[in-house]
């Protein structure tokens, strides 16, 4: 089978991506982001409860634009869009470092799609934000490791335990919980305000997201809310992994491109020794290296997205490569963006720390670069 030369990114996809780019640029410029999440450093880091500010108006518009329906199949009331389109939307979200439940919802959508949970998918298409609660407190990304246990069966299932690293929990309405039952890992869809659910926000570095540890104390699951029965949940998580990794890689690439362009602009205008500092090769060459790191990561991200639709057998290899390359590119862009801004780059008032912190967070989710490469080495040796 010939793979699309253009990664499946046709005229329709371009139209939606360009519209997204304009919409996000206009509705969340950097100064708006700053006033939302970094107005005050005391409020951001030192108050008892870190706020999780976001713009619900922007979310409603995104739902109207159909973005939550992109990953939902048409027969479940969605748009059944191509993965490459979801990746480019995630890239635009990263570019503006948007505080939003959309990345978490797109990841949860991929899992629910793999599980064939059409009722939950239909609610997402209609605009309900959902997030994954699938990771134990150890931070293991292995789908067979869950920190939650499911007890009972049939109409009498209850959840017990804790899920950690739950992304944007305070912006989402429902959780997709991985729980170990008698027959293996299952997936359960639980309202965030269900009796027995306690959301304990983590204090995190990233100001553009929130994260929580969620405790389940005998939470009842209605039979209709079992997205994957015991023993089928880990497979759904595994099937969704290429998309989860690809979306994170796209977010990293978009944010890294903002870091590159913002730092290049500074290097064009900041004058020292009677010259714009971009004249000096100690500034110029690292910026070029950042650009090359981003481009490789971006190409791998699009290749992974294309493979999700056209060559699923190869999607995980490409997605791991994309996540590794994008994590490294994000780390490198972050490092140079602060350093090359000089003294101002180290301050709260300069915008670069907002992206720096988002990148540090994205790098770690679902396995940072060394974790991806360890998995990849296994695939290379056996393939």
């Amino acid at each position: 089978m010939a793979l699309s030369k253009d990664f499946g990114f046709g005229a329709d996809e371009q139209l939606v991506r360009d519209q997204a780019r304009r919409f996000l640029r206009d509705s969340v410029p950097a100064d708006r982001l700053r006033s939302m999440v970094a107005r005050d450093h005391h409020e951001a880091y030192e108050s008892a409860l870190q706020p999780a500010p976001w713009d619900e108006g922007v979310w409603k518009q995104m739902v109207e634009l159909g973005w939550t329906a992109l990953g939902v199949p048409e027969d479940a009331g969605g748009l059944g869009a191509k993965a490459i389109l979801r990746a480019t939307i995630a890239e635009e979200i990263g570019r503006v470092a948007l505080p939003s439940p959309l990345p978490a919802t797109l990841a949860a959508t991929a899992v629910l799609r793999a599980a064939g949970a059409s009722a939950a998918l239909a609610r997402i298409a209609a605009g309900e934000p959902v997030t994954l609660a699938v990771t134990p407190e150890s931070g293991s990304w292995d789908p067979d490791d869950a920190g939650v246990a499911a007890r009972g069966s049939g109409s009498d299932v209850s959840l017990h335990g804790r899920a950690a690293f739950v992304q944007d929990a305070r912006k989402c309405r429902r959780l997709v919980v991985a729980a170990r039952g008698p027959g293996g890992i299952g997936l359960h869809v639980v309202p965030i305000d269900a009796p027995g659910v306690t959301v304990a926000p983590d204090r995190i570095v990233d100001l553009t997201r929130d994260q929580a540890t969620v405790a389940f104390d005998g939470v009842r699951v209605a039979p209709g809310d079992v997205a994957a029965p015991d023993g089928r949940g880990a497979a759904a998580l595994r099937d969704a992994l290429p998309e989860i990794l690809t979306l994170l890689a796209a977010d990293l690439c978009g944010a890294a491109e903002w870091q590159l362009q913002t730092t290049a602009e500074y290097a064009r205008t900041r004058v020292q020794f009677e010259r714009p500092i971009g004249f000096f090769q100690a500034v110029k060459h690292p910026l070029v290296n950042v650009m090359m790191a981003i481009d490789g990561a971006r190409s791998l991200t699009y290749a992974a997205a294309c493979a999700i639709d056209e060559d699923p057998a190869d999607a995980l290899r490409l997605a791991r490569m994309a996540k590794a390359a994008a994590s490294d590119a994000g780390a490198f862009a972050s490092d140079r963006s602060v350093q090359l801004h000089g003294g101002i780059g180290f301050t709260w008032e300069c915008d670069v720390h907002l992206w720096f912190k988002r990148q540090k967070h994205s790098e770690q989710l679902f396995g940072n670069a060394p974790v991806q490469r360890a998995e990849l080495a296994r695939m290379l040796a056996s393939g």
Partner: protein, 402 residues
């Protein structure tokens, strides 16, 4: 097995290439195989490699996408297939590598009809070998400061000067030559010629020895050498523009006539894995070391990224600047080769102290050799430092370093 990306015509041609290569691959020669065309030395090697290219050309594996009237196959999208199959088959490389990857595309773009008919067919068949005369002792990274002078005398030009790093000059019939025809303007004072080398009066070719110990390139001295005006390529004063075409092909931003041969980057990653798996390390193998696996995985990622970059470079809506990816490829490719070589040396550990000709050397000593030889690529065709200046200035709009 066909490639997933092939059209039906390409798939059929690929099948043909495989069959032909299986049947026609020449036996290993008595001499030790040079690692690339640049290292070919002596009459025996010259004959072996030029015979092989002639045969491949006759079979349609060289110049496949060139027009028939210039000795090509008249196809589209076939050369990539032939080059891939040549690489995979382990068959010898093409000898006329400068001609195929630089002179031919430049002549095709800038040559007159007569020049194309005269020079391209024997170039493709290796009946005439080509070299490149750009760099000079005082014009390396700053190529446009070339001083080798061409002065008009009636229907001829008289050339005096000194070119260096001239690969294959010792076998060459012709040279693509960048010469100064005016001192009024650095760039517009340059003109591009096809210069005679073998047997030409006033031409002296002196070999230079590389750090690898191999004779690879030469310096070429011009003392009142006569070039007919009919061998000028494009207009007087347009030499820099023509040279940019050559460099575009040299830097890999576009595909030439296919020089084939040599293992693919993917194959080199597999060779690293194989090397690690058979290199003993602390009671196990180097592959059992997580650090080694991490480093090899990094290489695999860079190889795949290069391939996907090439794919994305053709999708305008997924690139931000038309030259952003094409201008990177020379830097990326040459540094990848360098790092692959360096990693092979590191993995082999003490065994990498053994060099070409040592029977116990892993992969025949190829790793330390490839590593050292890679500096030719990171320095040539505009050093990678110059490439980074160009990228920073043209793509990111940073202030010019010059």
């Amino acid at each position: 097995m066909t490639e997933r990306r092939d059209t039906p015509e390409q798939a059929e041609f690929r099948e043909y290439c495989r069959r032909w290569l299986e049947e026609n691959r020449p036996p290993a020669p008595a001499f030790r195989m040079p690692v690339s065309a640049i290292e070919i030395t002596g009459e025996e090697q010259r004959r072996y490699f030029s015979d092989w290219q002639r045969k491949c050309h006759a079979a349609g594996l060289v110049g496949a996408d060139y027009p028939k009237e210039y000795g090509g196959g008249g196809h589209k999208g076939f050369q990539t297939v032939a080059s891939q199959e040549l690489g995979r088959s382990g068959a010898p490389f093409m000898m006329n590598v400068i001609g195929l990857s630089m002179a031919a595309p430049t002549i095709l773009v800038h040559g007159t009809e007569a020049q194309k008919r005269r020079f391209l067919p024997p170039l493709l068949s290796c009946d005439e070998v080509w070299c490149q005369g750009f760099s000079e002792p005082g014009a390396g990274s700053d190529l446009a400061s070339a001083q080798t002078a061409a002065v008009r005398e009636g229907d001829n030009w008289i050339v005096d000067g000194h070119k260096v790093w001239t690969s294959l000059a010792h076998f060459a019939d012709w040279m693509i030559l960048l010469a100064r025809t005016s001192r009024d303007d650095k760039y517009k004072g340059l003109t591009y010629f096809i210069a005679p080398i073998r047997g030409a009066k006033g031409v002296t070719v002196r070999p230079l020895v590389k750090m690898t110990g191999e004779a690879g390139f030469n310096e070429v001295l011009f003392d009142h050498v006569v070039i007919p005006d009919a061998q000028r390529l494009d207009e007087v004063g347009k030499g820099w523009t023509v040279a940019m075409t050559t460099l575009t092909y040299e830097r890999g931003a576009a595909e030439g006539a296919g020089s084939g041969g040599g293992p693919s980057l993917e194959d080199q990653v597999q060779a690293l894995i194989a090397l690690a798996k058979r290199t003993p390390r602390a009671g196990a193998t180097a592959w059992d070391d997580a650090v080694v696996r991490d480093k090899i995985a990094r290489m695999a990622i860079r190889v795949e990224a290069m391939r996907q970059n090439a794919r994305r470079a053709r999708v305008e809506t997924l690139t931000d600047h038309p030259m952003r990816i094409p201008l990177q490829s020379k830097v990326q490719l040459t540094e990848l080769h360098q790092d692959l070589g360096a990693l092979g040396v590191e993995i082999a550990g003490p065994h990498s102290t053994r060099y070409l000709g040592d029977e116990a050397a892993p992969d025949g000593g190829a790793w330390p050799h490839a590593y050292m030889n890679s500096y030719g690529m990171t320095i040539a065709a505009g050093s990678n430092e110059i490439q980074r200046n160009i990228l920073g200035e043209r793509v990111l709009g940073l202030a010019k370093s010059k």
